[in-house]
């Protein structure tokens, strides 16, 4: 699909029906190949043989906490760091030894790094000027970029005279002015407040779709990664914990780390006790009840597993004290209720002292809470909601 055919609109590519998914096509050639890239700082291994194919036109998110290696990988792509081992191949060109100024890669910096002594127009035109482009060419391109980020009329301002959101737009325009093959975004929206951040996220997606540029974005904000990315990689201590579309990683985490890093998850421990017609039966090792899961989640009999449960996939209802737990049914006492406006989070303490979180949408305005503090409640869920993870 060419960039112009892509419909505009405030939706993530990942959630869009029929969007191209080249990573499912084994014959598709990756646009950016990261092959066994290792980077050490002294004894610290920042990147440990990371391999990752990224396809043309993707908006790929590197998600992880501090020290996960996501920024190191980004700086290797930009050329500010040279990998100790492994290769980075962009559009068939090996990037080894290619200086940052010679790479067809541009970066939108976390601090934006706008040149304070230059006007907005000079900032945006800086890259073209380095190429020796003619003045009229630069002027035309700068005007085009200003229009793209809806900043017409701001060309003569200095960065100090702009708001945070405006600076982000200028930084984006500057990074895209040279039509890079690859755009790197380092925590691009972390300096903006929540509402502006959300609006700018969708604008970024729009611009990415219009230009067709391949974006690699580094973020620690899981919401940002989920809403924007075609695919994302969750990074942990220099390795890729999981790679997939946002919904794949959220719905089918492959480890306890990803389940807890992306969204919230209640983790229960158990042992696989049998495979039955209705699904896998997992005996809880800490509580007197069984967990049922989909047959697809099958693990060898007797193996110890984690079961991750998303708070929004669980139901909560008042029950009589002393009510017995059962399959996919926990009994506990409400210790705390978090009011978030759009939903409630109930903290339910089980008999053994373990706490699970259950969230419920706030459907009706100012009615009595169906469940209150200190109520005895039953927490139930469907077996599809049980995410079985290896220990």
């Amino acid at each position: 699909m060419s960039p112009s055919e892509r419909p505009f609109g405030p939706t993530s590519l990942a959630e869009k029906p029929g969007a191209a998914e080249p990573w499912r096509d084994p014959s598709a050639e990756p646009f950016l190949r990261i092959e066994k890239v290792t980077k050490r700082f002294g004894d610290f291994v920042a990147l440990d043989e990371v391999s990752l194919p990224i396809y043309r036109g993707e908006l790929f998110a590197l998600l992880g906490g501090s020290g996960s290696g996501k920024s190191t990988l980004l700086r290797c792509l930009a050329g500010f760091l040279e990998p100790d081992a492994g290769r980075i191949v962009l559009d068939g060109q090996d990037m080894a030894g290619v200086a940052p100024y010679a790479r067809p890669v541009n970066m939108m910096f976390q601090s934006y790094a706008l040149f304070p002594h230059m006007t907005v127009a000079q900032n945006i035109g800086f890259g073209l000027k380095q190429e020796g482009a003619a003045k009229p060419v630069i002027t035309a391109r700068v005007a085009e970029m200003l229009a793209m980020v809806k900043m017409e009329g701001f060309g003569d301002r200095k960065p100090a005279a702009l708001s945070g959101g405006q600076r982000a737009r200028v930084a984006l325009a500057r990074a895209l002015a040279k039509r890079p093959k690859l755009l790197l975004l380092d925590e691009p929206l972390s300096a903006l407040d929540k509402n502006l951040r959300e609006a700018t996220q969708f604008e970024l997606i729009n611009i990415q779709e219009r230009t067709g540029t391949t974006f690699v974005i580094v973020t620690h904000d899981q919401e940002e990664a989920m809403t924007m990315a075609t695919r994302l990689a969750v990074m942990d201590r220099g390795t890729l914990a999981q790679v997939g579309t946002p919904s794949e990683v959220y719905e089918f985490p492959n480890s306890r780390f990803t389940a807890e890093f992306l969204g919230t998850a209640n983790i229960l421990e158990g042992v696989v006790e049998g495979v039955e017609a209705e699904g896998v039966r997992i005996g809880s090792s800490e509580l007197d009840f069984d967990i049922l899961a989909e047959p697809a989640a099958s693990k060898p009999l007797g193996s110890r597993v984690f079961v991750a449960l998303r708070p929004e996939r669980m139901r909560i209802e008042r029950t009589a004290p002393g009510s017995a737990p059962g399959d996919n049914r926990l009994v506990g006492r409400v210790r705390d209720i978090g009011y978030y406006g759009d939903f409630f989070v109930y903290h339910v303490v089980l008999e053994n002292g373990k706490e699970v979180r259950v969230s419920q949408p706030n459907l009706r305005r100012r009615t009595e809470r169906p469940v209150d503090w200190e109520d005895t409640v039953a927490v139930t869920w469907d077996r599809q909601a049980s995410m079985v993870l290896p220990e």
């Binding site: 930009a78 100024y101 910096f109 976390q110 040149f115 380095q130 500057r174």
Partner: protein, 290 residues
Amino acid sequence: MRPATRRRLVLALPWAWMALFFVVPFAFVLTIAFAEPSEGLPPYAPLLRWSGEATAVLQLNLANFQLLLDDPYYLEAYLRSLRVAAVSATICLLIGYPMALAIARAPEHRRNLLLMLVILPFWTSFLLRVTAWIGILQDQGWLNGLLLSLGLIAEPIPLLYTDAAMYLGITYCYLPFMVLPLYATLSKLDPALLEAAQDLGARPLRAFLQVTLPLSLPGIVAGFLLVFIPAVGEFVIPELLGGPGAQLIGRVLWTEFFQNRDWPLASALAIVLLAALVAPIALFQWRAGR
């Protein structure tokens, strides 16, 4: 005490300092500059005189300023001093900028040590350091001795009492005043700016010229002024290291004051020097502030 009163009190301190150590002495010098020289102590006549009959006569003698304008000897000394100061400040800039940049880019734990090394010479007496250069530069000095023993020269070359020795001395003594403000500016520059320039296709030299250099301009100006201003009136270094022909304004002032005992003329010289230095700087500040 109300906060406003307290604030005023705190502000009064620097004002009092300025008044006591700059305005009052300046008023003395200004008064003497308009006096007539006389024998005795102090060697000038008071401006205000009683001419009997309850009349006070204020007599302003402008002859000193007239002389400064008329005699090319003084004008030449002024211009020569300005040139020497400008050349010294430029040499300091050329040496100090790479030093400051290197310190600013050094690993953080090493920066304090490097800064310390820049300031270290201040821990010995200024006079001692200048005198040490005599030992290095004189005909029987270390430098000539080294060159002779290496066979590079057949007989000692005159190094001491030359313009080169004077510039060397001034540059050596004033270099820290250039390095420190430059370092302060350069160390505050966001390294991401330089990365952004390189990322956008600027080779290191162009990135330096287009980003680092213009953004360090305040440091360059501050460092230049900190070297230039004291170097204009410098007396000791040209006297000890420079040639006898070099009549700099500092030496002229000293001669008028101590040898000719013409306090009014010396004061006039000092007033004109101050005005010549303060006026362009004030103009610069005023334009920068707009």
